[in-house]
Symmetry: C2
Subunit: 334 residues, 2 copies
Amino acid sequence: MATIYDVARRAEVSAATVSRVLNGRRTVDPVLAERVLDAVAELGYRRNAVARNLRKRQTNLWTVIVSDVENPFFTAMVRGVEDVASATGFSVVLCNSDENAEKESNYIAVALAEQAAGVIISPSSNRVEDLNLLPEAGCPVIMIDRELKGVHGDSVLVDNEHGAEMAITHLIGQGYERIACITGPRRVSTATQRLRGYGKAIRASGRPVNEALVRMADFREHGGHDAMASLLDEGATPDAVFTANNLMTVGAMECLAERGLTVPDDVAVVGFDELPWADLVRPSITTVAQPTYEEGRTAAELLAKRIAQPDRKLTRVILPTELRVRASSTRSSR
Amino acid sequence: MATIYDVARRAEVSAATVSRVLNGRRTVDPVLAERVLDAVAELGYRRNAVARNLRKRQTNLWTVIVSDVENPFFTAMVRGVEDVASATGFSVVLCNSDENAEKESNYIAVALAEQAAGVIISPSSNRVEDLNLLPEAGCPVIMIDRELKGVHGDSVLVDNEHGAEMAITHLIGQGYERIACITGPRRVSTATQRLRGYGKAIRASGRPVNEALVRMADFREHGGHDAMASLLDEGATPDAVFTANNLMTVGAMECLAERGLTVPDDVAVVGFDELPWADLVRPSITTVAQPTYEEGRTAAELLAKRIAQPDRKLTRVILPTELRVRASSTRSSR
DNA sequence: TTGTAGGCGTTATCAC
DNA sequence: GTGATAACGCCTACAA
């Protein structure tokens, strides 16, 4: 591999001049500059980003830690991040924490060691201290999708409570009476916020919240399935269910199908998050849609800004959700 | 940030000893080692991977370049890669070439500059020379899903031709007669191999291949939709269609639904690749399933081996596909 | 076993 | 405007 010195020798200038030409900051005699560029081309020189990063004490790597890479929700988000990153000259290191606190801590350690320029994370754990290692080391953190109080970083969220409220209010308006809720783990902000929206809407209709209709699952397909089964088996007899994320919606639907229950006639379904290719799913599912790609973009833009300007005020962006009414929650007859 | 020298001073040893303790290669006096470890803990020292990489002239970064991050097929694959990477101490830099040759070349340049330890790529272009820059610079390449002849690297593929053949043979067995094929761009190996399997099966049944029933689209949802529309509009009147990837399957299905055509009674559908949550899609779709996660794992394992042993013989792994017969291709009556 | 010293390839700070 | 020269933080001969 050719180094900057090889180029300098060939162009008959100093290494410093080569560096200046390559970085285009200060002015260089056009004649020398051309000699340098020629030498670069002839040698097929590429600069060594590792050496550059060491010298500049900063990299162009963003670490993105998501809690489930296989969930299409995060996929779309990552794409938003990636688009902004490549447009601003950063590369994205993708890490899958798999809802596992150990893995998450591990990836944080790696990000620190690799001198990541910034981290975008949807926290799986509530290890505030681990996350704060990053800002303490001067590495900005953006929380996305999920919020963790006490972490010194910006965040990009959606109006989870309101989204859930819309979902439940819609079900109530359709005449459903025993509305169940399958939410995620208590430590995750989206789970509690969506549950709160559920409770708020139920109470707003003048009814009490029935704990027998509430389940805390794990945001996974299997968990949604089992929570649905438990609702049915334990005699809670729901006539509708609100599931707090896409995977659990799928799990719950599968459980209903296994039991021979019809959606929406036996049990109506509204899920948080869009499903990919929702149009092919029958019955089509009513969802609370969030602007996933935009969340990724926004987080990335926030990170780029903070890197440029480390002392700017912390921001907390809340993006709107939208209720998309489809067949799974509209009464055909009764 | 504390450096190895800060630790050395605190532990009253030399920097070399600290390095030796941290890397655990050669033996160090247990007493000194403990002093070092204590100093590390007290200072919250973390080694700077950038400096280490410069010195060692190699990083622990794998660059994974996929042609569409939002396609669940690649998502599962990336997860397979990521699992192996993190188990072997590598990090994954994810790049989305978006079926775009320019972006792809760009990411290759970045991988080179960042001194990636290896690259796993599903090529979007057929720029063999660009890809070969990597092995020339000593950076191993693994091609995944798609093959590009002339590239000096290992590859992990599936038996595309055989998979397509199974699909078509199945349709023929079900009595379909005018079987259309929507495949991908000619430059992509999976597109041509799947088309070849289609032709082979058709001919094996004693019929000629009718070019009016074949379309080359772009492996995207929209492309699948338009190709289906063109088949219907141009009077080719297919009674079945084989779509060469998951996104085009969705597009074609949507087109059929728009036209009020019923699957499988008006037109049967078999698609290459599973759809996520295939069980919720109605009618359920017959697919040629490939072991996506395994492809990722295999590619990653191959990369790890090649890094450890750069001169091992080039390998080309072919993983099997499997026909999953569902409702979209089984004649109810006629 | 331990310490010293040189270098990985850049960029930044000086003089000139 | 250009060219020496000194870091950036680490690893590893080599010498002790």
